[in-house]
């Protein structure tokens, strides 16, 4: 049972894709260091040595490696489904699965499988791109189409190693063509706040009220909002997922016109609305890049989604 006596909902799975050397391992290790009490379950693909910093490893048995802070790691190889089931059966159950795709895997195909499993829900697809090499990879005779498809399947692209690239703006513009539905985040050393990768923790308790964007990690902002009752959650989710809002993520609970609580989640252009767990309190957290996300636009979206106001287009 989850804290507060609620039945745990489906276990969220974030897929981390991208070709070799893009920084998947760096990102995963950074997330483990910043887990901050979240019990992350990291699934790595079959190739090679365990890509986890040894300082984070506490103990290893046959299939599961115990990491600091209650996190775990396992490799899944060709047996993704049973490996996921094993993680879901752990006590205590992990809060979130971070699934590293192999360098040549299509994250969209993995998300298709996750979407079919009863006890899991896809959180989002993060694809890393090495700003220095991604365009060359995308033109490679063997890898080009694979790399381009990986990028196109992303909800968020982490454009990594921007400090090494001659012209990261040009790479970002190019990515906009290759992956038109993805939000692009520039980074060095895969240094991004955990909330941008995994979303905020909303276990149903109220988010901190405060209708404002506040400084988060350098370059990022989070808005914690208290949406009014009587919101059409599907309309709101669609509005928040609109590329024009430039949000990376949004997550929370809103009250429908009939009084029922809905859970809402947006990752890039992907959005889902489901029934909220019992006892959930209204609240919405939006995360964006400091120079891009506009709090006023988010508030407008909420107003637009209030009962009666139907989105146009």
């Amino acid at each position: 049972m989850a804290p507060g006596g609620r039945q745990p909902g489906p276990l969220p799975v974030t897929i981390v894709g991208g070709y070799l050397g893009a920084g998947k391992t760096t990102l995963i290790n950074a997330m483990l260091r910043r887990a901050g009490g979240r019990r992350l379950a990291v699934m790595v693909n079959e190739f090679g040595a365990l890509p986890i910093d040894s300082s984070l490893i506490e103990a290893a048995d046959d299939r599961i490696v115990s990491l600091t802070g209650g996190c775990v790691c396992c490799s899944y190889g060709e047996d993704l489904v049973s490996s996921l089931a094993m993680l879901a059966a752990l006590d205590p159950r992990p809060d979130h699965v971070l699934l590293e795709a192999s360098g040549v895997a299509f994250p969209g195909a993995i998300s298709g499988t996750v979407g079919l499993l009863q006890d899991f829900v896809l959180d989002g697809i993060i694809v890393l791109a090495d700003a220095e090499t991604v365009q060359r990879r995308a033109a490679d005779r063997y890898l080009g189409s694979t790399v381009r498809q990986q990028l196109a399947q992303a909800d968020l692209i982490l454009l990594n190693k921007c400090d090494l690239a001659a012209d990261p703006e040009a790479v970002e513009a190019w990515l906009g063509d290759v992956a038109p539905s993805a939000r692009i985040v520039r980074a060095k050393q895969a240094d991004v706040p955990i909330e941008a990768v995994l979303g905020t923790r909303t276990d149903g308790s109220a988010v901190t009220a405060g209708r404002r964007f506040r400084d988060h990690t350098a370059g990022y902002v989070a808005a914690e909002l208290d949406p009014p009752a009587g919101v059409d959650p599907e309309a709101l989710a669609r509005l928040l997922a609109d590329p024009a809002r430039r949000l990376l993520r949004a997550k929370g609970f809103v009250r429908r016109p009939d009084g029922a609580m809905a859970a809402l989640q947006v990752v890039g252009s992907r959005w889902t609305v489901s029934d909220a767990p019992a006892g959930a309190l209204p609240g919405l957290v939006c995360i964006g890049l400091k120079d891009q996300a506009d709090p006023a636009a988010v508030r407008r979206a909420i107003r637009e989604a209030e009962t009666g106001a139907r989105p146009t287009g």
């Binding site: 070709y19 070799l20 079959e46 190739f47 090679g48 040595a49 490799s75 190889g77 060709e78 047996d79 993704l80 489904v81 049973s82 089931a85 192999s102 360098g103 040549v104 299509f106 195909a109 993995i110 298709g112 499988t113 979407g115 079919l116 499993l117 009863q118 063997y142 890898l143 189409s145 694979t146």
Partner: protein, 546 residues
């Protein structure tokens, strides 16, 4: 020190110096010589054993690419369209209608006591039932109580009943997945296409474990099938070879009545290339006569009929996307470099011609770094290679093991759907391989198609599809070449050609014992040559008694 001399109706030796003989002398599991009785009597005391006096002996057949999983799958219900012989010698008639599939599965279900136990079938070939696809309602006629799952012959589709969908939580509307067709009611039809759609059903239908890891009953069944098909050495081409499997295989294959030599390749999986080399070198030292270890298997791409093979431009005939890499090119190159440096052989699965091109590039690069004489790196399947690629293989010192059985089972689909007419006619280009000087083997990939090198030879000689089309007249090879390919040819790809593959002095006493003469029946009848059994390491294994 007495020799046993076997007179035979005919002995096909594969020794060009004396291609045929009437007698073969055997001692201590090895061949003393082949020739006339007078010649062999010169070796000293002998007993004459005339049990093969009316048989034709060939070198024991060598299956260069199969999986012991063929033996494992016979624990499930055979649901194929074509007749197929099981390890006990029973020929299961091919199922020509969906009703017949339902009937066979129902009979099997009736033999299960536990009402909740899954019923698993295999080798369904959905393309042969016209426009009608097998759906969950068909399999619901088998049972609504127990989950039923039938694996497609290609291995890329799993057909399930409603109960299996219900257990997996997928008997619901609103599914949006490219591998899950929906019926008019909005519910899945029960056809789960591709590994992503199949995976959630695996745990409920009995297909959740790694079928490629060898199990003891499966290994024994596989060996019985070898005897029935004249095979004395067979590859188990993709095993991860964990310690417990190796211990079991060492024990079972050392038994005095185990009738086959298994060449088990270590599939690259779950370790770094560095660890892989170390594991394979350690395995090589464990080898014994009937279990050969120490070769690496790598997989570059998927399958053609599953549209996951990597094709060069212009790709698939029906416009499907260009397939999947199963390994990053950097990793393939690293394995090749380390293997060349360590003197370890690598066999690489490449189905599409782009995957073949990558493997050729990587072999060339690795060779420049670590010149490695007689490496015999082998491309497995390599179905779409063109003439230029075969010339490259020859120059790089590579071998190829082609898959002519595809022409019979899926040739019409390759012609019409997957690769289109022109490339379908050059697929599995055995004649080009031989003309280019690439050492050639041919294979069944059992259980993908049935074990049986004489059938595979027939496929290479005739290139006939299931509907009777000759697919690529130019790439047909002669009977003599085909017979050499299923003996010495395959042995060469495992560096065993000095030990097996021909009947000549000093080699293992491995014979396929045949009722008919494959050299005189004519190429069209090659698949019908009757197998009496085998002699393996001098031990006699009649199929009737295995």
């Amino acid at each position: 020190m007495t020799n046993t001399i076997y007179p035979a109706r005919k002995i096909i030796t594969m020794n060009p110096a004396r291609p045929h003989a009437g007698h073969v002398a055997v001692r201590d599991g090895r061949i003393v010589g082949a020739g006339t009785l007078d010649e062999l009597a010169g070796w000293g005391a002998y007993t004459l054993d005339d049990r093969f006096a009316d048989k034709v002996l060939m070198p024991g057949l060598v299956e260069g690419h199969s999986h012991t999983m063929e033996g494992t799958l016979w624990a499930y219900v055979y649901c194929g369209f074509f007749d197929r012989m099981d390890p006990e010698g029973t020929v299961w008639p091919g199922l020509k209608s969906i009703d017949e599939i339902v009937e066979r599965l129902s009979e099997a279900a009736g033999r299960l006591e536990d009402p909740g136990r899954p019923l698993a079938g295999w080798s369904l070939d959905a393309i042969y039932y016209g426009n009608r696809r097998v759906n969950r309602h068909d399999l619901d006629r088998v049972s609504t109580e127990r989950p039923v799952g039938v694996l497609n012959a290609s291995g890329h589709i799993l057909n399930v009943n409603s109960k299996a969908l219900e257990l997996a939580g997928l008997l619901k509307t609103g599914l949006d997945h490219p591998g899950i067709p929906l019926g008019e009611d909005g519910l899945p039809t029960g056809e789960m296409k591709g590994p992503d759609a199949m995976a959630p059903l695996g745990p409920y239908t009995g297909f959740d474990r790694d079928l490629l890891s060898c199990d003891e009953p499966g290994l024994r069944r596989f060996a019985r099938l070898c005897v029935r098909t004249g095979v004395t050495t067979a590859a188990d081409l993709a095993n991860t070879l964990p310690d417990e499997a190796v211990d079991m295989m060492l024990r079972v294959t050392a038994e005095p009545d185990f009738p086959a030599r298994i060449v088990s390749l270590r599939r690259f999986y779950g370790v770094t290339p560095e660890e892989l080399i170390a594991h394979v070198l350690a395995l090589r030292d464990c080898s014994q006569n009937n279990l050969r270890l120490g070769i690496i298997k790598a997989v570059a791409d998927g399958s053609i009929q599953g549209f996951s093979a990597r094709l060069r431009w212009p790709g698939y005939y029906n416009g499907a996307p260009e397939g999947l890499w199963y390994i990053p090119p950097e990793h393939l190159l690293e394995i090749y470099e380390r293997a060349m440096a360590a003197g370890v052989q690598v066999h690489t699965h490449t189905n599409g011609d782009e995957a073949t091109e990558l493997a050729l590039d990587c072999v060339e690069a690795a060779l420049r770094k670590h010149p490695s004489p007689d490496h015999r790196f082998t491309l497995q399947h390599c179905q779409m290679a063109d003439a230029a690629q075969f010339r490259r293989m020859a120059r790089l010192g590579m071998c190829v093991n082609l898959f002519p059985n595809h022409h019979f089972y899926w040739g019409d689909q390759h012609y019409g759907i997957t690769v289109g007419p022109e490339r379908a006619e050059r697929m599995n280009a055995c004649a080009t391989a031989l003309a280019s000087g690439v050492p050639l083997a041919i294979h069944s990939d059992a259980p993908v198609t049935p074990l049986g090198p004489l059938f595979t030879a027939w496929c290479a000689v005739n290139r006939r599809t299931a509907t009777g089309r000759t697919l690529g007249e130019h790439e047909r090879i002669g009977v003599a070449d085909a017979l050499r390919t299923i003996t010495l040819g395959a042995a060469y790809t495992f560096k065993l050609d000095g030990e097996i593959g021909s009947i000549e002095t000093g080699k293992r006493a491995d014979f396929a014992v045949l009722e008919d003469d494959p050299e005189s029946v004519g190429g069209a009848a090659l698949k019908d040559v009757r197998v009496w059994g085998t002699v393996q390491g001098g031990r006699i294994f009649p199929a009737a008694g295995i």
